[in-house]
Amino acid sequence: MRKNKKSFGKITFALAVSFTAVSLCGCASSDKGVNGQVIVYNWGEYIDPETIRMFEEETGIKVIYDEFETNESMYPKVESGAVAYDIACPSDYMISRMIENGMLSEINYNNMPNAKENIGEQYYEQSCGFDPENKYAIPYCWGTVGILYNKTMVDEPITRWEQLWDKKYADNILMQDSVRDAFMVAEKRNGDSMNTLDLTELTAAKNLLIEQKPLVQAYVVDQVRDKMIGGEAAIGVIYSGEAIYTQKENPDLVYVIPEEGTNIWIDAWVILKNAPNKENAEKFIDFMCRADIALMNFDYITYSTPNVAARELIEDESIKNSEIAFPDLSQYENLETYVYLGEDGDSLYNELWKEVKAH
């Protein structure tokens, strides 16, 4: 669910393609570490590269690291088996799709003491939504989707999705350029579920989005960060992990979880069914769950960590108790996690989204 830090959506994609090509050639010829290798497939810029180097040094296992930009672009690559990845880090709904299609291998917690100890119980419970018995996924990052607004550019505090349809903010609104996130906003505004497959509700959401389109300055993915920091727009839909960073850069920005409810998501490590280096994969994931390593990653990517031990180590009290990074979820109603809608459901959403975009 994470978005790239760099503001070059397409560029990162283009580079990713070329890098993948290079790294795939690399797989065959590159030297394995003394203890073999592990092939990791993660979101772009979603890890502190230093932690990978440390892992290689401590274990003698060579890490071959590959990045993807969206869950949807990750899935077919893993499915085709063109590259035999060991580990991936998809989001909740994509994990349930992978479980459904038998693409994941069960986790042996005995080999992963850190994962067992350090990840908060509540996050495992939350994961049950897509991984009912916690058999496959170990939470890596989590967060919410909310509204980031520039308090110098709005007349009143923004607290509701509804305000994204306010005509006075015309040309000052940034929406997420992804089908599920865009529909989530409209569905939540209507009081519907973000996983609805009801055609009436979906049509209503689609019409709302079409109604909103003239007010929207742009549909963006990563650029929402830079645009909000630069004061280019007053209101933007953003991931909580990005919000912390943007506030550091521009103190006028405020992040809110809208009253109508929103998406709460988890990205989690999974080991793939046909992983050639299963043992090394377990070691890698467990290493990432070590408190100091998880802290390094949190500092680097600023996405909320489910690693309770790591959170304890955060020195800056304001971040440790940040309402953005670690909101008290009990006080928010209507938080929902995306579930996999099935192929037909996905196509339905995509069709409607294209109608919005082409309108």
Binding site: K10, I11, E72, S73, P76, A218, K354, K357, A358
Partner: protein
């Protein structure tokens, strides 16, 4: 052809086989099958659905406008280039080619920064108390991006065609009493048609298929056919539909290439 020549062409044949024929075959395979692998034409006929057809129409319109603008800008310049001394025209051509040494994406991204609401251009305009420019995230910004990026591809073939015209032909026209305008329309323009066709091809095709320019300068609000295909591959992972739509786009490109093959027998465009 001697056997030695045959042997020399092996690497090229291998290269084009591996990186042109095979991928093309895969596109055709994906385009003509559905998720279960069964044969279908649905991915092709999907172009007729409202959203896709609209995106295609818009792409055709914007790339047509861009091509016309490029032509109108490039032709006078190419004429000037063809007339000035060799040393000076090299310098002018360099100026036009120089930006092409920089990455295409960076240049487009630069336009985004320039055109933004709080962008450089608007800062200057505000400083001068002039009304600000509001073209970012509109079709106008996309046309600007297309013209900017593809203009050199129009200038060079036109220049090549015009430089080849024998000055004696023009002198003869003048001697026989034709005025400048008459000479232009009866002599220069017809003789430069191969260059015009190459230029049009080289601007129109990339403009028609672009998705980078529209997504960077259109703010995701304007969906061109290239964006639809991009969406199918990267976001919705429906490679079948994406390939099917690409094949439809290839038809337009093929038509364009056949036209240019008919008119551009001397291969002006190959100078690039």
């Amino acid at each position: 052809m001697t056997s030695k020549k045959n042997w020399l062409s092996v690497p090229y044949l291998f290269w084009s086989g591996l990186f042109i024929i095979v991928p093309l075959g895969m596109v055709v395979y994906y385009g003509l099958t559905d998720r279960t692998g069964a044969f279908t034409l649905e991915n092709i006929t999907a172009i007729a659905s409202a959203g896709h057809a609209k995106a295609l129409r818009l792409s055709l319109l914007l790339s047509l406008i861009s091509t016309v603008i490029c032509f109108l800008l490039a032709y006078p310049l190419a004429m000037i280039l063809a007339q000035v001394q060799v040393r000076r025209h090299n310098f002018i051509i360099l100026i036009f080619i120089l930006p092409m040494w920089m990455n295409f994406l960076l240049r487009t991204l630069a336009w985004q920064t320039l055109l933004e609401k709080n962008g450089v251009i608007n800062h200057v305009l505000t400083f001068l108390h002039l009304p600000t420019l509001k073209i970012i995230n509109t079709p106008a910004a996309i046309i600007l991006g297309m013209v900017y990026n593809f203009l050199p591809f129009m200038i060079l073939p036109l220049y090549n065609a015009l430089a080849k015209i024998d000055p004696n032909v023009i002198n003869a026209a003048h001697d026989l009493g034709a005025g400048h305008i008459h000479t232009f329309f009866r002599i220069i323009l017809p003789l430069s048609i191969p260059g015009i066709i190459s230029g049009i091809t080289m601007v129109f095709i990339p403009a028609l298929t672009t998705f980078v320019i529209s997504s960077l300068l259109g703010g995701g609000k304007i969906l061109l056919i290239g964006d639809v295909i991009d969406l199918e591959f990267t976001k919705t992972s429906n490679w079948h539909l994406g390939s099917g739509l690409s094949m439809v786009l290839m038809i337009f490109i093929l038509v364009n290439m056949v036209l240019s093959a008919i008119f551009d027998k001397d291969g002006e465009g190959s100078m690039l």
